[in-house]
Amino acid sequence: MIIDHPLLGPRDAAEFVYLGDASLIDRPDWQAPDAMEKFHAYGYLRDNPAGEHQELWYHEQGDRSWLVVTRDTVTHTITKVELARDVARGKTKARGRGK
């Protein structure tokens, strides 16, 4: 597979390490009253879709960026690659607005 790194261009997937569902960015609040249930769902339950999947890849043999890759788990087609930090910042901001 080839991942089109937003900063470095197309790179062989072998340069990367895979972690899993990009929902791992959405870490629950440890002080929430139902923190245990939330962390259980965060740590263990997965949508595991057959189709489009947002997932985390780490460019270990490269610039050490964590990326959010949108990839189809049936065809392996990649449609979007973003810096995970940008995605995470977007989420923080969105949460901030929500409050």
């Binding site: 597979m1 080839i2 440890w30 923190a35 245990m36 962390f39 740590g43 780490y58 270990e60 995470a88």
Partner: protein
């Protein structure tokens, strides 16, 4: 003349002869021959034995689809089993032997299986060999195993080397037949970066096997010109003897180039190169494979596919006999009759399953329309054929054509399914091709020469336009649309004798029918039950006929039955090539510590720790075994001072305004409160609350921390910290860099460590206990100005320091420390002594922190802060993980002090039987303590914290032993920690 079957003409080079051996018999051929054509030329039609019935078999095809003519090529360590004679280029001195027979090829003892064939029908082995039970492994299976299998490995290490490489292109053209050449010419002339790969040693594909003309030129001559033109283009890479074996994601193709297989010796060059080709677009022009028709005894030597027989006559100038019959269901079969006749071979008969007038006039040949070959006579060769009308016709060779199957394999490697085309009686590529791939020529069902040429050019042009390259030069010469009419005809129903579908695995029409009768009605079940298509040719010539017969039996259409799944590789790839250079000592890289040279020169024995080589101990003259060395190193360190290279521990530099807050998130305990110039032990959890790693982190400045990790987890911890930084704390001002390889670090441990360091550290740095107490850290200089970092931390439990210098000074630093230590009788120590001292001190390492251990288990539950956000603190509080009766880390010593503890023993309460239900825990680490004079251990014991002084049984049934052990504190030495504060 030994080449009894040699014809005039052909594309072999008659200016010289090539001598070779088959089954130790010398024979002659010409450059340009394959082993198959040369054997045929020498009248050697019997080449091998079939898998199950050990039937005599000869060459059946002229390409990589060959099911029969498999030989062992070369000898000794270079022996290569199951090599297709049709793909072996003849070279001087070639040595090949036939395989899969007991006794000689001619008189194979296992041919007796053929007589027992009625009892060996499809799947017979699933129905028997069940009684008595123990006989399967002892009797039945060994007999089956030794009879099965094909060629033999030499059992010696493969002496050849293999390389790997990476190539990039705009357009990859797969196959250098007419369609592929047209595609490559078009793309090459347009200036695109092109790779043209072809499995043959002579580009041209069927052009080399046919007498068809292009623009008035012989086909093979045109191919030669085309190749010459391509060779002159800088933007084109021509790769002959190169098989594209797999289509992988995102335009990546797996490719094998055979570099020295056509030479007598590889002469130190890589035998083969495994390429990965990164293509923007691809044109698959892999041609088509002919298929046989099943009839009685259709497997004898001398029976060839019609197109193959034509290839042997036209390209290699050989024929399998003098009197040839042809059996076809299509127009193309007639061309074999015509071409062989033109070469002076007698054609006795053309049998056409279609009730039509003769397509061509072949003088001397009788034409039977609407008939079929029902049976053949002969043993190691052909004598005659019998037709469905009862007529017997003498012949010594038979060409069979059941039509052609487009080579759709690569189109299906990404789960695409081919589609049935009734007019061709064949599957063609479906619409769900691998992204970026198009198919041209016979592979796409464009079966005539004119169609293949034009499609190659047109498809390539479309691909170029897609890439924004303007196509030019796509005009191809005039060629004909030769007749290709075909009428489905799979097997001869009138045949009474066994009719083979899969030649290599000995699957007959009856087997297919039996599978259907017994309910194995999916094509996948048929394959698995009968083994059809599972041989080394993966059913390239057999599968379609098999599923057609299944369809007929099941009352379905062929597309309803469908094909099995095409999987990579297209043709088999040597495991040596797939491994490349990563074998032997080069399997993985070595990481050497900065002091490796000094260490090596000073008697160290090395141990592999991940990819690192570390000193495990240093042998002194007179020491009889490793224990002598280790005991000395431990005793001397505790008595005076020892020095150990600890560079392999991970080192991570953490800088930024939020560095402290970041570490609070990463560690279970708190680091933002750590004072500058101080070090703290840190425990890191996984998000699931299990201990992940531990180490010390030093605060070198307000915004600067230096973390150490365990050796094993250095990479993993850094990766996780980057995850936390980028994904969980994206707004923190913090940066990380791994400095594991940047700093050489040494532990200097023992009561004299400070004295030793005072000699090395420049005088203006005060390292007295007051100025530099336990858990202090700071910047110093050594040896007159060399920058260094000093940490007062201790793994051994002694007064100890770790000193780090830039890695390039590491070897010198090791030498300097040891030199300076001479007056204290300092010793360098290795990982074994390190291990003994940490067990004496009760410190955990990987044996304890094995990914299953909670902080609670190691007695550090309180260290997991519940007052801050940090990785793992929430899930660490799940009820099963904080049970009071959970296992706890404690120390053990044998009641009988002379006994040696065993790591991996399990603990059983005295009086209980030893069983899993009574399992109380296990011993994680043991060592002989030279300080205590007996064996000591660490381990996890249920409620261990409450069982001090209890005697439990440490059982090790695997060693057939057990002993009584006493539960003690894990801190065997200096439990109060006075020494390290001294």
């Amino acid at each position: 003349m030994t080449q009894v079957n040699r014809l005039p003409g052909g594309l072999v080079d008659r200016s010289e002869e090539v001598k070779f051996q088959f089954n130790d018999k010398w024979m002659r051929g010409y450059p340009g021959d394959t082993l198959a054509s040369a054997l045929m030329a020498n009248g050697q039609l019997l080449v091998g034995r079939s898998f199950k019935y050990h039937r005599p078999r000869g060459v059946f095809t002229a390409g990589s689809e060959e099911p029969n003519a498999l030989v062992q090529l070369r000898r000794r360590a270079e022996q290569e089993p199951n090599t297709r004679a049709t793909m072996i280029e003849l070279f001087e001195g070639l040595y090949a032997t036939s395989q899969n027979h007991r006794g000689s090829l001619e008189f194979d003892l296992l041919a007796i299986n053929d007589f027992f064939a009625p009892f060996l029908s499809a799947g017979f082995y699933y129905k028997t060999f069940m009684w008595p039970k123990a006989f399967w492994e002892k009797l039945y299976e060994p007999i089956i195993r030794s009879a099965a299998g094909l060629g033999r490995l030499s059992m010696k290490e493969d002496p050849d080397s293999y390389d790997k490489g990476f190539l990039h292109c705009d357009l990859l053209v797969i196959g250098a037949g007419p369609a592929g050449l047209a595609a490559a010419l078009t793309a090459g002339r347009s200036g695109a970066r092109v790779i043209l790969a072809d499995e043959d040693f002579r580009p041209g594909g069927r052009l080399n096997a046919e007498t068809l003309e292009l623009g008035g030129m012989a086909g093979h001559a045109w191919a030669e010109e085309a190749v010459k033109e391509l060779a002159e283009m800088d933007n084109v890479r021509l790769m002959s003897r190169t098989t594209v074996y797999g289509a992988y994601d995102h335009g990546i193709y797996g490719v094998l180039e055979r570099c020295t297989d056509h030479l007598r010796d590889s002469n130190g060059k890589p035998r083969q190169i495994l390429w990965r080709i990164y293509s923007k677009r691809a044109v698959l022009a892999a041609g088509a494979t002919e298929r046989p028709i099943a009839f009685g005894n259709n497997d004898r030597p001398g029976i060839l596919l019609a197109g193959a027989m034509r290839a042997y006559a036209n390209r290699y100038a050989v024929a399998p006999g003098k009197q040839i019959a042809v059996f076809t269901n299509n127009d193309d079969g007639w061309r074999t009759a015509a071409d062989l006749y033109a070469k002076g071979v007698e054609i006795t008969t053309v049998v056409d399953s279609r009730d039509k007038p003769a397509l061509l006039n072949i003088p001397g040949a009788r034409h039977f329309g609407g008939q079929a070959v029902m049976d053949t006579v002969g043993r190691a060769g052909m004598k005659s054929i019998q037709l469905t009308n009862g007529q017997v016709i003498p012949c010594d060779g038979l060409a069979v054509s059941g039509g052609w199957n487009p080579n759709v394999h690569l189109t299906c490697h990404q789960r695409g399914r081919p589609e049935w085309r009734e007019d061709l009686c064949a599957f063609v590529p479906g619409s769900d091709l691998p992204p970026g791939m198009v198919v041209a020529g016979a592979a796409n069902g464009a079966m005539t020469l004119a169609a293949a040429l034009s499609e190659g050019a047109v498809k390539a042009s479309a691909q170029l336009e897609d890439l924004g390259i303007k196509p030019k030069g796509g005009e191809m010469p005039q060629a004909e649309d030769e007749p290709r009419d075909c009428a489905a005809f799979w097997h001869v129903k009138q045949s009474k004798n066994r009719a083979w579908v899969d030649l290599q695995n000995d699957v007959t029409v009856k087997d297919v029918k039996l599978a259907n009768t017994e309910g194995f009605r999916s094509v996948e079940l048929l394959k698995r039950y009968t083994t059809m298509g599972m041989a080394t040719d993966q059913g390239k010539t057999s599968n379609i006929a098999g599923l057609a017969i299944l369809a007929e039996e099941a009352g379905k259409t062929i597309p309803e039955v469908g094909t099995t799944i095409f999987r990579p590789p297209y043709t088999p790839v040597p495991l040596g090539a797939l491994a490349g250079r990563a074998r032997g000592k080069d399997f993985r890289p070595y990481r050497l510590t900065p002091s490796h040279k000094w260490t090596e020169e000073n008697g160290a024995s090395f141990v592999t720790v991940g990819n690192w080589l570390r000193a495990e101990w240093y042998t002194q003259p007179g020491e009889k075994g490793w224990r002598d060395s280790v005991d000395r190193e431990v005793l001397q360190t505790r008595k005076s001072v020892g020095i150990c290279d600890v560079t392999t521990l991970g080192k991570i530099d953490i800088q930024g305004k939020d560095a402290g807050a970041f570490l609070d998130m990463v560690y279970a305990n708190t680091f933002s409160t750590l004072k500058v110039g101080r070090v703290r032990y840190g425990l890191m959890l996984r998000e699931d609350g299990i201990c992940y790693d531990d180490g010390t982190t030093a605060r070198m400045g307000e915004d600067h921390y230096v973390m150490t990790t365990t050796t094993a987890n250095a990479v993993l911890v850094f990766r996780r910290m980057e995850f936390v930084r980028q994904c969980l704390c994206p707004d923190m001002d913090v940066h990380l860099i791994s400095t594991t390889d940047g700093w050489a670090q040494f532990a200097v441990a023992g009561p004299k460590s400070r004295d030793l360091l005072r000699k090395v550290i420049d005088r203006d740095h005060d390292i007295s206990n007051d100025a530099f107490p336990f858990m202090a850290c700071g910047h110093v200089t050594v040896c007159g100005g060399t920058p260094a970092r000093l940490f007062r931390i201790s793994f051994s439990g002694e007064l100890a320091f770790e000193i780090a210098v830039p890695a390039r000074y590491g070897n010198s630093m090791m030498a300097v420390l040891n030199e300076a230590g001479k007056e204290f009788d300092a010793v360098p120590y290795g990982t074994e002594a390190l291990g003994v001292m940490r067990i004496e001190k009760g410190h955990c390492t990987g044996n304890e922190l094995n990914g299953q251990t909670t902080a609670h288990n190691i007695g550090l539950g309180k260290m997991v802060s519940q007052k801050k956000a940090c990785i793992g603190n929430v899930l660490s509080q799940r009820p099963e993980m904080i049970r009071e009766d959970a296992v706890r880390l404690v120390g053990f010593r044998p009641v009988d002090r002379s006994r040696k503890l065993i790591a991996g023993s399990h603990f059983i309460t005295k009086g209980d039987t030893a069983s899993m239900a009574n399992d109380q825990g296990w011993m994680t680490s043991v060592a002989y303590s030279p300080n205590l004079g007996y064996s000591i251990g660490l381990g996890f014991l249920k409620e261990g914290q409450n069982r001090m002084g209890e005697i439990v049984r440490a059982v090790s049934p695997i060693h057939n032993t057990e002993m009584e052990v006493e539960v003690v504190s894990p801190h065997f030495i200096d439990p109060e920690g006075e020494r390290l504060r001294g």
